[in-house]
């Protein structure tokens, strides 16, 4: 697999750690969370394998290009619309969560409009810039954040606040029957790779998903899921974990840097995760933008002016919807709709994979 695919996968995993994901997991901690997570872990590696395998037949082509080749336009339009909206919501969900976080923990006096508008310029630029640049930005930011992230993880795992007894207690609920919402929430950790439906046009080399890659994805997923689920339980305790809205913020805030210039680790956490969440929003919306661009394509060749107008209309639509929803959504809504969204997402993923399988068969025949 190209290194960029890993970056896509990781960015999605990390961004999910702070969004609504953990809260859904904790809400079902006594109703089969663990079994579902384990199943989702294996299934997650499987969907990654299937995706890479199906895309192998079309190296260097994005999904809209493939659809153009093998499917009639009236079939491909609804597919692109559905996928585009799904990816748009993925970004929006992270955006709403993060705006809420900033308002709550970093700048409580700021209005929600100001907070949202600080994202406008930067994300819009990210959405319309070259796909290649997005991948490079991703790489660059990851390398810059890596030292902080490693420090943060080490600090977490070796913090004296962690009570491993609680972790063991949480693990003892392994015998509950699996729960679908937890399964799909966990599966969402693995869909970062699916961004290659657009980015594949840049990945010219044939990708291999062998045992080595599968192991790596498995370990990465296992580590992320373990950290997301068990570390907050270890720090905050098992009984009350369901009541936290942002368990991860409180987990980070329980760690201190005794001799640091910055004492509360939560600020480092917030700023690192702001960068990662931002990247995640940008990637999701970029994918969504590219898919919608292909929906609203009047002729094979459009004039430059037409393209600019289309870009502007799409961006304005993106932001109008984002403002409209962010201002209205309450915490409870975010939680409920996120779980609906995750439930829907895993169906869409399976649908997308079967579509790819069909396209693959068409390409072969």
């Amino acid at each position: 697999m190209s290194r960029f695919v890993y970056y896509l996968l990781i960015s999605n995993m990390v961004a999910n750690m702070i969004a609504a994901g953990p809260r859904i997991l904790f809400s079902k901690s006594e109703q089969g969370a663990i079994v579902s997570m384990i199943i989702a872990l294996f299934f997650g590696v499987f969907i990654n394998w299937a995706l890479i395998k199906f895309f192998n037949a079309f190296s260097g082509e994005s999904l809209p290009e493939i659809l153009d080749l093998y499917v009639k336009r009236w079939i491909s339009i609804p597919i692109l619309v559905v996928l585009g909206s799904i990816w748009y919501i993925a970004g929006l969900q992270t955006l709403i969560t993060y705006v809420d976080l900033l308002l709550r923990f970093l700048a409580p006096e700021m209005s929600v409009y100001t907070t949202l508008s600080m994202f406008i310029v930067v994300i819009s630029f990210g959405v319309i810039m070259k796909s290649r640049s997005i991948l490079f930005t991703l790489e660059l930011v990851f390398v810059m954040l890596l030292p902080f992230a490693i420090y943060y993880v080490i600090k977490l795992y070796f913090s004296p606040q962690i009570s491993w007894d609680y972790v063991r207690l949480a693990m003892s609920f392994i015998d509950n029957p699996p729960n679908y919402t937890v399964f799909s929430t966990t599966l969402f950790f693995f869909i970062g790779t699916f961004d290659i439906i657009v980015f594949n046009s840049l990945l010219k080399k044939k990708m291999i998903f062998g045992l080595k890659e599968a192991t790596f994805v498995f370990l990465l997923g296992a580590f992320t899921i373990f950290t997301t689920y068990f570390i907050p339980i270890g720090v905050l305790g098992f009984d009350r974990i369901k009541d936290f809205i942002y368990p991860w913020i409180f987990t980070s805030d329980s760690i201190r840097m005794k001799f640091g210039v910055i004492e509360r680790v939560v600020f480092i956490f917030l700023l690192i995760f702001l960068a990662v969440a931002f990247l995640s929003i940008m990637i999701h919306w970029h994918v969504s933008f590219k898919l919608f661009e292909n929906v609203f394509r009047l002729k094979k060749s459009m004039t430059n002016k037409g393209k600019t107008i289309r870009t502007c209309i799409l961006l304005v639509a993106f932001w109008v919807v984002a403002f409209f929803i962010t201002v209205r959504v309450t915490e409870y809504d975010l939680f409920t709709y996120s779980s609906y969204y995750f439930n829907l997402m895993s169906v869409v993923i399976v649908g997308l994979l079967s579509l790819l399988w069909m396209l693959n068969r068409r390409a072969k025949s």
Binding site: L106, A107, T115, M118, F136, T137, L202, E263, L271, A275
Partner: protein, 453 residues
């Protein structure tokens, strides 16, 4: 062909007429028995001694049997004869001597260049490495490069600019290493420059830039031959302009601007330390002013309590919000830098002392700024100068203000987003098809090729 024909032929007359009212035009006819040679040149650009030695003396010394025309043709100074009067005239103004024997026309390059001395490298000084830079003459510069790089694949291609000065521009590159598409691109850009007058490599650099409003430089001006070679060996194209002591390196990416030639001359760990300091300086000078505003005005609780109190205490008495304070001090320090750059060396020392020391202390005592901000601003000013190339230095100074504005409006989160935006802008920019900012050079060329397909 008779002795009576001492009048110059019509062609020479026509050329001379076009150069006419200039006082330095010389039209000469050498005559000896049956031989007649017509010379046309500008005496201000031709080396008189050479002319005497190479053309005049042999003319009278060669015996009758020896053919003077053959002798002239055998001279190594010959330049290619262009077609068309206009081009011939340009060649003459460049310092060629027009020689006409019977019907044979030859141009001999006997140019005299006043400023061909190699200058000392003053803009990018290093402790080790060559101390001398390039000169203002194209030939000398090519000589300097050739002397250091002995490869038959080193190609020097001369192009003439299509503007008022008809300057010669040389493209220097190693054919084995350079990307063909890049070369084609650069030539196209040079040909498409539509401007009245090019003064030197710095404005050539400006006009070769396709984007009208750009901040970061996409080609690098240097006076150091070692930097020229270092980049040429990496497959880049060097552009030399006649009369300019700077070489233009294209395409250049962000990291080229952050490299000092001294990185090649020291031992590994020393270089790593220097590089760490340099990048640290870069981040400091971009982010520190914005960070000060973000922390003092938005989220003082980021710092540990003691430090937050220290910062707050030093701001007691400052009558306005921190961003005004920072803007005020930054503009002040920019003015100081700008002034000391324009002034002669002797006065600039005084300006710096008065500005930096006295005004800084006075501003704090007058409670116009906090003590800590004075430290912050001087740190910023110092770390700006760690960036080795001055164009990048300027660009970074501008970025600092953008980031400051973004943080002033949106707080600490705005700082992070602004920084990410800056990174994205740099990544998305490209220099002659090469991404401006990206990591991992290992398969850089490979990925570039994949993009071109």
């Amino acid at each position: 062909m008779g002795e009576l024909e001492n009048e110059a032929p019509a062609y020479v007359n026509r050329l001379a007429k076009q150069l006419a009212p200039s006082t330095d035009v010389v039209k000469k006819t050498l005559k000896r028995k049956e031989r007649i040679v017509h010379l046309l040149y500008l005496k201000s650009v031709v080396d008189m001694m050479q002319l005497q030695e190479i053309i005049v003396k042999p003319f009278y010394e060669l015996s009758k049997e020896q053919n003077f025309a053959d002798y002239i043709r055998s001279l190594p100074y010959e330049t290619n004869m262009p077609s068309g009067d206009e081009e011939v005239l340009i060649e003459i103004t460049k310092g060629n001597v027009f020689v006409m024997i019977d019907k044979q026309i030859t141009l001999l390059e006997l140019k005299m260049v006043a400023a061909n001395a190699v200058q000392e490298a003053t803009m990018e000084p290093t402790i080790h490495g060559p101390q001398l830079g390039l000169s203002e003459s194209l030939e000398t510069n090519i000589n300097v490069i050739r002397q250091r790089y002995h490869q038959p694949s080193l190609i020097i291609e001369t192009v003439q600019l299509e503007e008022a000065s008809n300057r010669s521009v040389a493209l220097v590159y190693d054919t084995d290493l350079v990307r063909p598409k890049l070369l084609k691109d650069i030539k196209k850009r040079i040909q498409s420059i539509d401007i009245k007058l090019i003064q030197g490599s710095s404005d050539l650099q400006y006009h070769m830039n396709e984007v009208k409003y750009s901040l970061f430089p996409t080609s690098l001006l240097t006076e150091r031959p070692d930097r020229v070679l270092h980049n040429m060996a990496a497959g880049k194209v060097i552009i030399l302009v006649d009369g300019s002591p700077h070489a233009l390196i294209t395409p250049t990416v962000f990291f080229d601007f952050m490299a000092s030639m001294e990185d090649n001359y020291y031992s590994f760990w020393v270089v790593k330390l220097i590089q760490f300091l340099r990048y640290g300086g870069l981040f400091t000078c971009i982010m520190l002013p914005a960070l000060y505003v973000g922390i003092t005005s938005y989220t003082p609780d980021v710092f540990r309590t003691e430090l937050a109190l220290t910062v707050a205490a030093s701001r007691i008495g400052v009558p306005y919000p921190s961003f005004i304070e920072v803007f005020f001090m930054l503009i002040f320090i920019e003015l100081l830098t700008e002034a000391s750059m324009r002034l002669p060396n002797t006065i600039s020392a005084t300006a710096t002392t008065v500005g930096g020391l006295i005004l800084g202390t006075a501003a704090v005592e007058a409670a116009l700024t906090s003590n800590i901000l004075v430290i912050v601003v001087s740190l910023v000013a110092i770390s700006t100068f760690v960036i080795p190339i001055s164009e990048m230095n300027y660009a970074v100074r501008v970025c600092r203000f953008f980031l400051l504005v973004y943080t002033t409006v949106f707080g600490l989160a705005g700082l992070v987003l602004g920084m990410l935006g800056l990174i994205m802008y740099l990544v998305n920019k490209d220099s002659f098809g090469e991404p401006y900012l990206r990591l991992f050079g290992k398969n850089r060329q490979e990925e570039l090729k994949a993009d071109e397909q």
